[in-house]
């Protein structure tokens, strides 16, 4: 069985922060096509605040996610604060401070993050939002686990589903958020939230991969 140490898992959160910082301009550009062009700025503000907060502490993976969630909750308004804030807070609270996180624990975290969203948003697959990445990712990961694949393989499946989900948003008409006002005109470009969600899950998978140990 494969797992990673919660205690030494902070690099995963740091990788997530870095990918948002590195793609700030790119994300805003995508948002600019059919939204108001601030998605990169919004995300970067929250993730960078998190980076600063983490520097002053010696956090575990779950604590890192909790800090990220807290900061999005308290510092980022609009829609990204509550959506990503909920995902990360719920993920952080899903498992009771285990020393090691295996694929079952990680699946429980994904499930909890999505369950939390249920209370605040309505978007489903096909609505051109970050749910087009998040839900297929969870499905791919849980399918792999059900099929007996190992953590590493399940993460690979998840990343593949993320990319496919993100790219599928190009052909969709936005039904939630700012770009939904454009109706048909929203078709033809990526959804910004889907793009950031894909980046975050990719960074998470890569970060976990690097820390995975056979136990």
């Amino acid at each position: 069985m494969q797992a990673f140490s919660n205690e030494r898992g902070l690099p995963i959160v740091e990788a997530m922060i870095r990918t948002i910082q590195d793609n700030k301009t790119h994300l805003s550009e995508i948002d600019g096509m059919i939204g108001d062009g601030d998605h990169g700025t919004n995300m970067n503000k929250g993730f960078t605040l998190c980076e600063e907060r983490l520097q002053a502490m010696d956090a575990s993976f779950l604590e890192g996610l909790q800090v990220l969630g807290d900061i999005l909750f308290s510092e980022i308004g609009g829609s990204m604060g509550p959506i990503y804030g909920t995902i990360f807070m719920e993920m952080a609270g899903a498992v009771k401070t285990p020393s090691r996180i295996d694929e079952h624990a990680f699946l429980a975290m994904l499930e909890a993050g999505i369950a939390g969203l249920d209370e605040i948003i309505e978007a489903k697959v096909g609505d051109k939002t970050l749910m087009d990445v998040l839900l297929p990712a969870r499905d791919a990961f849980s399918g792999a686990v059900r099929d007996g694949k190992d953590f590493r393989q399940a993460l690979d499946d998840m990343v593949q589903a993320c990319v496919a989900g993100r790219d599928a948003t190009v052909g969709m008409v936005a039904r939630f958020g700012r770009s939904s006002r454009l109706g048909e005109r929203s078709r033809g470009v990526l959804d910004a939230g889907a793009a950031s969600c894909c980046l975050l899950l990719q960074a998470m998978a890569k970060g976990i991969n690097e820390l995975l140990e056979d136990v």
């Binding site: 308290s74 308004g77 829609s79 509550p82 804030g85």
Partner: protein, 337 residues
């Protein structure tokens, strides 16, 4: 961009600094820099909270004060406040009898309020909401859950705030605020775009010589772009949408709120009001309360919103109750008839 600002990314901070100093008789800062509360406490009565993006002055913080709103969550310009700010606003407004969160139907606000409510519940604070959806142009009649909240929110706050101040229960406050917004319909006409200081250029367009009927408070597209018409025709076009929607009909008594969007001279708001009054009179609808001015703005947008509320005795009593806020002061027994 001909603006009076310091740092484009910190206009909200800089504005709050001035606001808190200017109105220290009415409002106070809290431990959360994005939450402002009214002076005085809510001990033993229902607290009233609202919140929303900045750039709509006097909304939202301008309606803090005796007889209206107790705490406000303040967002960035045209962007929902954080869930944390709503939560802290709930804490500030909680006097042990629960909190009525009366806010507008925008997806960011909806999410942040819901998340904050979840947290508040854990602390044992009882929160109930009324979501304003008075903008009839923002979705068809059957889909009122998709409609945005605009200037009608002010009447909802006034009514809910008066009820809370009277010592009513949370159920009663929520019921009357819900009735207030259910009986209130609004529509806007946009004549020019506005520029967010941090962006530096308008993010939508209104061609000279045209008007956007049904525009939203952040420049959300309306239902039709027409050639610019006279005030008379504007009033007609707005009433044509509002009246059948409620419906408002002969014999009804209404409150009318004409709010400028920021840059339209107030003189013109009165010209529009004059036309609305005439048309309503022709239809046998009687205006018994009227509000004309810049009550709910969109930075320096030119244009106007027209709001009608169908009155009954309870709503009238709540509108007339004493209130003392920056944006709306009313003396007991003083009102337009």
């Amino acid at each position: 961009m001909q603006r009076i600002i310091n740092r484009p990314d910190y206009v909200v901070e800089d504005m709050l600094k001035g606001f808190l100093k200017a109105h220290s008789d009415l409002v106070v800062a809290t431990s959360n820099s994005r939450v402002v509360r009214a002076v005085g406490d809510t001990e033993g009565r229902v607290g009233v909270v609202t919140g929303g993006g900045s750039g709509h002055k006097p909304a939202f913080i301008g309606y803090l004060g005796r007889g209206m709103v107790d705490a406000v969550a303040v967002g960035e310009v045209f962007s929902s406040p954080t869930a944390g700010a709503f939560l802290d606003a709930f804490r500030e407004a909680n006097g042990g009898k629960g909190v009525a969160c009366l806010y507008g139907n925008y997806s960011g606000d909806n999410m942040n309020v819901k998340l904050a409510m979840k947290m508040a519940k854990r602390e044992g604070i009882e929160i109930r909401t009324v979501v304003a959806n008075d903008d009839v142009a923002s979705a068809p009649k059957g889909q009122s859950e998709k409609r945005r909240g605009v200037a009608g929110e002010i009447l909802m706050w006034k009514v809910g705030g008066a009820k809370a101040a009277s010592g009513a229960t949370l159920d009663e406050v929520i019921a009357v605020a819900q009735k207030a917004i259910d009986q209130t319909k609004s529509i806007g006409i946009g004549l020019s775009p506005c520029t967010l200081p941090a962006v530096g250029h308008p993010n939508f367009e209104i061609q000279e010589g045209t008007m956007e009927v049904g525009i939203g408070h952040h420049g959300e597209p309306g239902i039709a772009v027409h050639t610019l018409e006279s005030a008379n025709v504007m009033a007609e076009k707005m009433l044509d949408v509002i009246l059948p929607d409620q419906p408002f009909s002969e014999g009804d008594e209404v409150a009318v709120l004409v709010s400028g969007l920021g840059a339209t001279p107030v003189m013109e708001l009165y010209i529009l009001f004059g036309e609305v009054e005439e048309k309503l009179k022709e239809k046998g609808i009687r205006i018994s309360r009227s509000y004309v001015g810049n009550y709910f703005t969109s930075l320096e947008m030119m244009g106007v919103t027209l709001t009608l509320m169908k009155l009954d005795d309870e709503l009238k009593a709540c509108l007339d109750a004493e209130a003392d806020t920056v944006g709306l002061k009313s003396f007991p027994g003083k009102h337009s008839v």
